[in-house]
């Protein structure tokens, strides 16, 4: 048999039909659904008198619109948000799909609860009407975002019409320095390849620095594959993956577990597999980074300065001018001199327990020097665990608001928004104009860096706050 990549193997195992021109029906193992991109799809099913083909493989949760304040038990005050969440309540019930309502402690951001509940398994095909579905690729699953028409298509047929993407390998060799995290890896890759560098590809991340990451870290890396333009990001499963999955509510058990393991252990790219594109970065060359502009590719080490738009080429010159104007920044300003108003720790990129631990470690015994700071755990269970570990107290004592689970200020569909001109250090994944609120200015970074910024009130190199001895990996 000819050598295959991990993507080739998963693809081949899921083709239900292939036309002569390569257009394929890809069978979908897990379909995740949230309230914003699904109402029109369910409406379409009703109008055509269609059913959900595989309700047992369909999992729904409200996350984008839900308030994250304690008073949400009394209901959602914003009428449109409430209607959207109620529509999901009704659709989940009418079509008989798995559901985690707002009142359930397991509720949270769809990409956090999938892995948490054991829905996400190696070798699966997973889709969701949400671009950050790529997160699940950390388990060696082929996972990507789809539009609402495709949501309806998957609901009705459990398949997706697809053509195969090309294979791209992103290798991060060696070890990461102190204070450098999975977020710095993924942002640095985008900084190098650009936001369209992955267009047409499925990326497999590999190399020693990737292997050394925890499952949480791997999810952070894959989460932002979409910001690099790729259809999906993947990491081959290994012992850490299996360890993470074992015992989760929807993970296979007993003989099923053994059978699953036998297949999962074949899920890696063969040595001589063909790659259409290869990018290699030395782990030692990655620094803690922040974004300065309005595209995730506008990324630089925290030790750098705001760039001069004239130093770019082509359309980027105009793009950078516009970005600096929007961000209210001048070329030559040291990034570490940029003062911030707000800190947001959360999102499907960095709202897991490890992220909260990392931020709390920096914050312990310190006070914030910004107008406001909030932590929004990625799920009710992450929140409960953080409370048990005493992290919530560290955040509260430092001056952070301790919120309930949801997407929150990552996209500001709920009341958590920036006001015009307000500058935010955020652990989310998009720094687009208006993303966190009209006129709001977003700098993306790791949870450690966001915590450091909260303490000093400006973008800060977290390494300056760390004990001199490097942390054990």
């Amino acid at each position: 048999m000819s050598p295959k990549t991990l993507y080739d193997k998963i693809w081949d195992a899921h083709v239900a039909h292939e036309a002569e021109d390569g257009t394929s029906l890809l069978y979908i193992d897990r379909h995740l659904v949230h309230e914003v991109t699904s109402p029109q799809a369910f409406e379409g099913l009703r109008l055509a008198n269609r059913k959900v083909r595989a309700p047992e493989k369909t999992i729904a949760v409200p996350d984008h619109n839900v308030p994250t304040t304690d008073d949400r038990v009394n209901g959602i005050t914003n009428e449109e948000s409430r209607i959207q969440v109620e529509a999901l309540d009704r659709n989940a019930k009418d079509f008989g799909i798995h559901y985690y309502p707002v009142s359930d402690i397991r509720q949270g951001i769809v990409h956090i609860i999938g892995p948490e509940q054991g829905w996400t398994l190696p070798g699966m095909t997973i889709v969701c009407g949400d671009s950050h579905t790529a997160t699940h690729g950390a388990f060696g699953a082929l996972a990507h975002g789809i539009g609402t028409s495709e949501v309806e298509h998957v609901l009705a047929t459990q398949t997706l019409i697809q053509k195969k993407s090309k294979n791209m390998k992103v290798e991060i060799t060696g070890k990461l320095g102190p204070g450098v995290t999975a977020k710095d890896i993924t942002l640095s890759v985008i900084g190098k390849t650009g936001t369209a560098g992955g267009t047409g590809y499925v990326i497999e991340y590999c190399g020693e620095a990737i292997r050394s990451l925890s499952m949480e870290g791997r999810m952070t890396v894959c989460n932002m594959a979409i910001e690099g333009g790729a259809r999906a990001g993947l990491i081959a499963p290994d012992e850490k993956t299996f360890e993470y999955i074992k015992g989760r509510p929807h993970a296979p058990k007993g003989a099923q577990w053994e059978a699953a393991m036998a297949w999962w252990q074949t899920l890696y790219s063969d040595d001589d597999a063909h790659w259409d594109k290869v990018v290699t970065i030395r782990g030692e060359d990655i620094a803690p980074v922040v974004t300065w502009g309005t595209s995730p590719e506008d990324v630089l080490p925290i030790t750098a300065e705001v760039p001069d738009p004239e130093s770019f080429q082509g359309g980027k010159v105009q793009g950078a001018r516009r970005a600096l104007d929007y961000m209210g920044l001048k070329p030559g300003t040291k990034l570490s001199d940029i003062e911030i108003d707000t800190v947001f720790i959360g999102s499907c990129t960095n709202g897991r327990i490890e992220d909260l631990r990392a931020a709390a470690a920096v914050l312990k015994g310190k006070k914030i020097a910004v107008k406001r700071a909030m932590v929004v755990p990625g799920s009710g269970l992450v929140r409960a665990q953080a409370e048990e570990e005493g992290l919530a107290d560290i955040f509260r004592e430092a001056g952070f608001e301790w919120r309930l689970a949801g997407c929150s200020m990552c996209l500001a569909m709920n009341p958590d928004q920036l006001s015009p001109g307000e500058r935010c250090a955020a652990t989310s994944n998009r720094n687009f104009e208006g993303r966190q609120g009209r006129g709001g200015r977003t700098h993306l970074m790791s949870p450690q860096m966001a915590a450091a910024a909260a303490i000093t009130g400006r973008l800060t190199d977290v390494r300056e706050m760390m004990a001199p001895a490097p942390e054990p990996a």
Partner: protein, 201 residues
């Protein structure tokens, strides 16, 4: 969906790279549970000021381009989220064709499901069409999906490539779901086989 017929229309220039889905339709308009009515909010934050008044300099607010049916744009158009509200808003405004050097993957696919043809052309050719579009309402272009051609106002013809299956569906206004349901037996067979091979799924 309607069949995609050849048409001649006004093209609006938007010479900006990385136009993301948050710009195309900001999140406050994602709360709808309908597909229609989003056209007035297309490019909302670029199009209206804080008081909701039109910003005269924005291209779609200029008299020449209010009826635009084609949009000429920069590279990586439609990057960002999977929200189909973006193509819904574009189509609801009246735009049926976009020309750009490249698109984000999900946005590109979403266009075809909504009667929008996203044409990919090399940067040099997009530049020519951009300059043509700058001429205003008198510069009308013709889009012929069948022939895979777009004709500038001076008669220059540009040929574009696209996937034959996508072309077929768009041209004939076909419903994907109905097409796939015809392959029901293949899906049944796959499920039976996968159920034996991977019973834990």
């Amino acid at each position: 969906m309607d069949k995609y017929e050849t048409f001649t229309g006004i093209a609006a220039p938007l010479p900006q790279i990385n136009v993301d889905t948050d710009m195309i339709i900001p999140k406050q308009f994602l709360k709808t549970i309908k597909r229609t009515g989003l056209g007035v909010n297309l490019f909302d934050e670029m199009r209206y000021d804080d008081n909701g008044a039109e910003i005269p300099s924005f291209v779609l607010n200029q008299p020449a381009y209010r009826e635009a049916e084609i949009l000429i744009a920069g590279e990586n158009f439609g990057c960002g989220s999977s929200r189909e509200h973006a193509p819904w808003a574009i189509r609801d405004f009246g735009i049926r064709c976009i020309v750009a050097p490249s698109y984000a993957d999900i946005f590109y696919n979403n266009c075809f499901k909504n009667g929008i043809l996203p044409i990919v052309l090399p940067q040099e050719q997009v530049d020519i069409l951009m300059a043509d579009a700058e001429k205003g309402a008198n510069a009308r272009m013709t889009v012929d999906l069948e022939a895979q051609e777009i004709t500038a106002s001076d008669g220059q013809v540009f040929r574009f490539e696209l996937d034959s299956f996508k072309k077929h569906c768009l041209l004939n206004g076909l419903d994907d779901i109905a097409l796939t349901l015809e392959k029901g037996p293949s899906i049944d067979a796959f499920e039976a086989r996968a159920g034996l091979e991977r019973p834990w799924v």
